[in-house]
């Protein structure tokens, strides 16, 4: 037990860097992460837990891909499109990835304008993010229906290991659900921003707590996470 009083823990005006700042944070009074609000801390920890879910999904997919004795269908061929007479492997996936990554950009801008209290631009950029997200989900739906039309099912497909279809639908479905939930939250919060809830400190319907512009950033954290997960799915499922 150190001989520390509440005041002695953080002398005013000291600025620590590196490991000493980490140590100071964790030995601190009241909160371990000085600059993180409750909501932001909660989102980070949730994302850590969610990382384990996606990580386990991907590891399980890789395990069944390696353990099955039937050949794995070639993703470049399966996910190719004929456009204007050209055979383009992975073209749709490339567009989807581009759309989703772009939506991260608009989200980051929305967060920026949120902190400048620019109601209109924040809301518009959030709506744009939601629109890009919805486009992504729409293209995902197109891809699903194309594969289903070609005879791919969770329990089998014309080209090889049936785990191909099951892993594909499960992982992209779970990710698509995340994107859809993200779109819904973006719409809800964009509406609140537009209405000026956070300027008037209007209370939440369920929680009766005052909303703050920070929720834009928290939604952004979630959104970037969903994008990042997609990069791994893209690399491990489509490119492998």
């Amino acid at each position: 037990m150190n001989e520390l009083s509440p005041t002695a823990l953080r002398p005013e005006g000291t600025h620590l860097t590196g490991w000493s700042s980490v140590e100071a944070d964790w030995s601190a009074d009241q909160r371990a992460f000085r600059t993180a609000s409750w909501g932001k801390a909660m989102m980070w920890i949730f994302l850590l837990s969610d990382t384990f879910i996606f990580g386990t999904f991907l590891i399980s997919y890789m395990t069944v891909r390696m353990s099955t004795v039937v050949p794995w269908p070639n993703p470049s061929e399966v996910f190719a499109l004929e456009i204007g007479g050209h055979h383009l492997p992975l073209i749709l996936i490339a567009i989807m990835t581009f759309v989703l990554i772009s939506s991260s950009g608009t989200m980051a801008m929305a967060v920026n304008f949120g902190y400048r209290r620019d109601r209109r631009k924040t809301a518009i950029l959030m709506l744009l993010t939601a629109l890009l997200g919805a486009t992504f989900v729409g293209m995902q739906a197109f891809e699903w229906s194309k594969l289903i039309a070609e005879g791919v099912r969770p329990w089998g497909n014309p080209w090889g290991a049936e785990q191909f279809g099951s892993s594909f639908f499960m992982i992209t479905g779970f990710h698509g659900t995340h994107v859809t939930i993200g779109v819904i939250f973006l719409l809800i919060i964009a509406r609140k921003v537009w209405r000026g809830d956070f300027d008037q400190a209007r209370r939440g319907f369920f929680t009766s707590r005052k909303g703050r512009y920070e929720i834009v950033e928290i939604t952004g954290l979630y959104w970037h996470f969903v994008d990042l997960v997609w990069v791994f799915i893209f690399a491990l499922f489509y490119l492998w």
């Binding site: 509440p6 005041t7 002695a8 953080r10 601190a28 909660m42 949730f46 399980s60 004795v69 049936e162």
Partner: protein, 586 residues
């Protein structure tokens, strides 16, 4: 070791975290039913967990009846026996122990012990309970669906879990998996709250290293649960897909009952890895809160500071981290490369080191303490003995060559019941005897409590010591009836009958406890605010039971660690954490 500044006139710093605005219930329903108050949620969690635990207790009676007196109750046919095993295990481990320690004690103690008004997100906290209740109801629904509950064993190993000849295949397994998924979703909502409250919602002066060990135990366990439950979640989703729409994640090509099933090329071992990547941390998710609580019980009731507080914290963290790299010791008999067996045996045995540190520290805390044989102390002592006994057989089973012959015997059953059944349950009882006065304002009856303790403690040993022996004799586990086996001596049947009789008595004795809970609610002795003369913050609330918001107008300020007992020169033999430094004792 008085944890106060030498200069007692230091003015308080301004609060880093501003006081929160609480949700104020406006009706009876929002106050007591859909309550956002962590204390009410804790009681809801605890009562639900205890209720479903009583169901699991009755299931174990039925199993014991069959094992002790095969064929005595014709109702228990082999299918029902497997259903009993499955539900007993699943309910006890997840719906009772996990929910009670984290949802029950976590919700009650985290805000109070840290000097917070409530959890950081009360609304999400409330949802957590209702989803847990839904999970329990879905689980119970399994008893009523066609075909009954699943009989796959509590580990739900595929392919057997979803094959047609397994009990509960039509509905039971689906209901089980859905219930697990719901439980995990509900737990995550609560767990995020517990973690963030500990990290970001403490009162002034409450540094992490001044937190009571109870909170450290619950906190570490919750972090582990948030990282381990994802594996179970994924496994449950994949098995549900295998069962419902015919994917082959876990299902290899199988010929069952002369018929080639449509499954092809899945990996049953993958499920085992996923399950135990969750399952082994789960053991410590149950054990770490128990470790933390028992540390506080011992320190309080022996009137002595906990020995080696820092080491206790680091041991908790080390156990938590190590428990993520030992899971395959549950799979030695599934077959693995010898060097993996070596790796997992080594990591398993390394866990003994931080665990031993904790046990030594508990004993050294007792050493020359002013030990009061109160009910919580009795249960805490019972825990230490039981945990050491159960832990020692764990060293046997952690070694590959010893585990392989013992793995499918009653020895394993005896081992894990001692170490993660009886031991945590003793802590739960001790903790309820300890904190009931704070929750209700009245003491539990001591005579009834002592009766309950001695029957439970001695009974547990009468049940599980012989069980080790019959396991060593070769009696296999999970068998409905072993009949005449040349290698099993007939005397084990006598012992099995004896165990059953004791188990029935011990189970029935829990009614004493239930009665005590109900009776003391109105007729128990009034407890006052701090009957155990304890230092931690929950005993320093202005009202008992604590009111909504816990602390009246101003939050408490913490000046010292949680273990200032018998400080030389102090007027009392304890100094509450929020007692300002006094020049006389500093």
């Amino acid at each position: 070791m008085v944890d106060v500044p030498s200069d007692a006139t230091v003015p308080l710093s301004t609060a880093e975290v501003e006081d929160v605005e609480l949700y104020h219930p406006r009706s009876w329903v929002t106050k007591y039913v859909f309550s956002q108050d962590a204390k009410i949620i804790a009681i809801q969690y605890s009562l639900t967990a205890l209720a479903i635990g009583l169901v699991a207790l009755v299931l174990s009676w039925l199993m014991r009846l069959q094992l002790g007196f095969p064929g005595l109750v014709s109702f228990i046919d082999p299918e029902r026996y497997y259903q009993l095993i499955t539900m007993h295990g699943m309910i006890m481990v997840i719906y009772l122990l996990t929910a009670l320690f984290l949802g029950g004690f976590g919700n009650y103690l985290i805000p109070l012990m840290l000097g917070a008004r409530d959890m950081v997100f009360p609304y999400v906290n409330m949802l957590s309970y209702w989803i847990y209740l839904l999970a329990v109801l879905v689980l119970v629904a399994g008893f009523f669906v066609p075909g009954g509950t699943t009989g796959a064993g509590w580990t739900l190993y595929p392919p057997q879990a979803i094959l047609a000849n397994t009990p509960g295949q039509p509905w039971g397994i689906i209901v089980m998996l859905v219930s697990l998924i719901l439980f995990i979703i509900g737990f995550t909502m609560g767990g995020l709250n517990y973690v963030v409250t500990v990290l970001q919602g403490r009162t002034r002066g409450m540094t992490l290293m001044r937190m009571p060990l109870t909170i450290w135990g619950i906190f570490t366990a919750t972090v582990m649960a948030l990282l381990a439950f994802p594996a179970l979640f994924v496994a449950a989703v994949m098995m549900l897909l295998d069962r419902l729409i015919g994917t082959s994640f876990f299902m290899p090509s199988i010929v069952a009952l002369g018929e080639q099933l449509p499954y092809r090329g899945g990996s049953p071992i993958l499920f085992q890895h996923l399950f135990w990547f969750f399952g082994h941390p789960e053991v410590y998710i149950v054990a770490l809160p128990a470790f933390g609580i028992v540390s506080d019980l011992i320190s309080t009731h022996a009137r002595k500071n906990i020995f080696g507080y820092r080491m206790m914290v680091w041991a908790l963290v080390a156990i938590g981290a190590l428990s993520f790299v030992v899971w395959a010791h549950h799979m030695y008999v599934s077959g693995m490369h010898p060097s993996f067996g070596f790796f997992f045996a080594t990591t398993t045995l390394i866990i003994a080191i931080p665990t031993a540190i904790k046990v030594y520290n508990w004993v050294l805390t007792l050493w020359r303490g002013d030990i009061h044989f109160t009910l919580p102390m009795l249960f805490a002592l019972g825990f230490i003995v039981t945990f050491v006994n159960g832990g020692l057989t764990g060293l046997f089973l952690g070694n590959v060559v010893v585990d392989v012959p013992l793995s499918d015997t009653m020895f394993v059953v005896a081992h894990f019941h001692m170490v993660m059944g009886v031991a945590p349950i003793l802590v739960i009882f001790g903790a309820i005897y300890h904190w009931y006065p704070k929750v209700t304002g009245r003491m539990l009856d001591t005579t009834l409590g002592k009766l309950h303790f001695w029957i439970t403690f001695l009974g547990a040993y009468l049940i599980f010591f012989p069980m080790h022996y019959i396991g060593l004799m070769g009696v296999p586990r999970r068998y409905h009836e072993i009949g005449d086996m040349a290698f099993v001596p007939a005397s084990t049947a006598t012992l099995n009958g004896f165990i059953t009789v004791v188990a029935l008595i011990v189970g029935a004795a829990q009614l004493i406890f239930v009665f005590n809970l109900a009776w003391s609610l109105r007729r128990g002795q009034p407890a006052g605010g701090n009957p155990w003369r304890a230092t931690t913050l929950e005993w320093q609330t202005p009202e008992t039971p604590p009111a909504h918001g816990n602390w009246g107008k101003t939050l408490p300020v913490v000046y010292r660690w949680a273990y200032d007992y018998s400080v030389p020169g102090a007027a009392e033999d304890f100094l509450p954490q929020n007692q300002p430094p006094d020049p006389a004792t500093a």
